[in-house]
Amino acid sequence: MSNGSKVSTGREPLIRIVKREYNNKLIPGLIRAGALILSIIAGGLFIWAMGFNPFEAYKSIIRGALVGSARDPMSSIRSTIDIFVPLCVTALGLSCAFKMKFWNIGGEGQIIMGGVFATFFALNYPQIPRPLMLLIMLIAGAVGGALMALIPALFKVKFGTNETLFTLMLNYIAIYIVKYLIAGPWQRTPGFASIGKLDKNTYLYEINRQNIGWIAVIIVVLFVYFYLYKTKSGYEVSVVGESQATARYAGMNIRKIIIKTMLISGAICGIVGMIKVSSNHTLTEGIGGGVGFAAITVAWLSQLNPFIIPIVSAIISILQKGSTVMQMNMGISSYAADVLQGIILFCFLGSEFFVRYSLVFNLRIKEAK
């Protein structure tokens, strides 16, 4: 049966992909550290190719994010924290849903509705004293976000709709609701689509000119950790996320768990909306600012770990704030600054592949020939 001439079936592949297994955490750490270094080098090469000094650029990023100006040394850190707080809290909120493998892409919409609900009270009852007002706005924000998250959860549970598309599309609905409100019933000055500035007693308190939104980070980190890892409900979330068959087997009420978890996820995102309104002192259609999407990356990079999320959020906030300053100071195009951010994120996300898999190079290739 031998047909000699046709037996040849090509060469051995040069590279093969092999799944890794670990017994310690050192190697993944090293890989991630390597990715960081690589990203800095790759980004540097890009800056250099654009005709700028990469060292200057990185210095500018760090200074821009952490070191303020002579007149106000804390201003940069304040700006960085302003980016950090919404990103981190939203990522924490989303991580609750993600833990359940419910793909809540609707963080943006939930932030917006949280903002809308909070604004409703801020606009209509300005006479309420400040502490009470802030508390009401906080609750309203949480309720707004939760309701927005409830819609896809109900549809998922009742009709088995795909939550990814559903939550994504709700974001646009939320944006149009805001557009309608600020150009319609809530418009302050005819001819200008704006609700104007909110009353002073709706502003978040400030400590050293930094609004206290960061307190939310601490509270929500602890809450999410406690909820997911210490409570019965959190245990149920993990089981449902792993396998609905197992959850059914254990006698869990999957529908109830999905709805409850989405209410929590949405409420946390809604709180972000409230913080934004209360620290921006107004509601605009850009209130989401893409945080709902950026937070998805943060949540996954942190592997849904509530203690890693603040760290990753901080890195991304520093990068975001710093690169705008770099771009401004060095006259680099803001698109180029975006590319630099992209390169760094790409290296980080790419490293996760190498954490899970390794490449085996075939050194015997010549020998085989």
């Binding site: 007149r71 001819g191 704030k321």
Partner: protein, 391 residues
Amino acid sequence: MKKSVRIIALILALATVFALVGCGKQTGGEGETQDTTLAEGQTFAPIPADKIKIGVVHITSKDDTSGYTYAHQKGIEEMAAALGLKSEQIVIRDNVDDNDVEATKAALQDLVDAGCDVIFATSYNYMDAVEEYAEKYPDIIFSHCSGYKSNGKNFNNYFGRIYEARYLSGIAAGLKAKELGVPIVGFVGAKGSDNSEVTGGINAFALGVQSVYPECEVLVKITGEWYDPAAEGIAAKALIDAGAVVLSQHCDSDTVQTTAAQAGRFGVGYNSDMTPSAPNNHLTAPIWNWGVYYTQTVEAIIKGEWKCENYYEGYNVNLVGLSPLNEKAIAHGTKEAVEEAQKKIASGELFVFSGPLYDNQGNQILKEGEKLTDEQITGEINYYIKGVRVL
């Protein structure tokens, strides 16, 4: 093992946050002592020309080759050249979404931190954030384009009578439609009747069209965004399908012009001469010569003569104008008609928004002999005049 890692992480996170707050405590005081209050109408001390630092917030990229930001950026560059400023003295934050207050404030903070003495914010929705920053940093001059607020101290607004140029461009569009024998022209607007600037511009354009072709209708399509090339293209197509033969625009890209040219229709651009985008179809464009304002303002600041006054000029100082009429596209007699009207406007003989004026619902806005005030023009036009129809 795992638990200890978690606890360390938590401690680190908390430590970071408290460290930040702690730092804030130490240095916050300094920041506040620097705040000096200025009395109303007080002038600022002169700043040497080689020391002054100018900040600009743009809504799109400073490297744009046409459109709104391009016009402002060109003005800034003209100013820098006229006053001999070096490039390090101009600090630019571009692509700042004006619907995102947070981004706006972050951009203003960056410019403050960069040590700017004057900050120009060029888009309408920056207004409230700029107002807040002007209050926060009274020693910096904030100048905001196209809004209506000022504080009489360090925050003014500047804009121009672009409607004058729009009126003139309406004459060019009307004559072209008349030559083609089709009484329909189109207009792609960025914002709806809630925005006085756009709505007033559409009305001025319509009045220009009607001054030469009274039965001509102006169809309007709103995109909702200042800059959204895709939406602008779709809106332009809709107007073309509705039969418009000349398309004008108040939005930031040149998509309307290219779309019109592809369909064999004609166009009136905005902000900059868009003839390169549609060489055979672009008639003219109302343009800004922002360099006039920027040069005058920065010069005044350098000399210590800056006063917090709102700026609202037009053809009188050449702040607005028309890009060169495109001989390949304009109707016969356009040049003469435009020049005549321009002279009358510059001299004050012709005021665009004069009575009798009716809106498209049949309400009379102005009686014979009445005129719109500047406040009305900048903030209160929320109606379309007779002959305008929104699709």
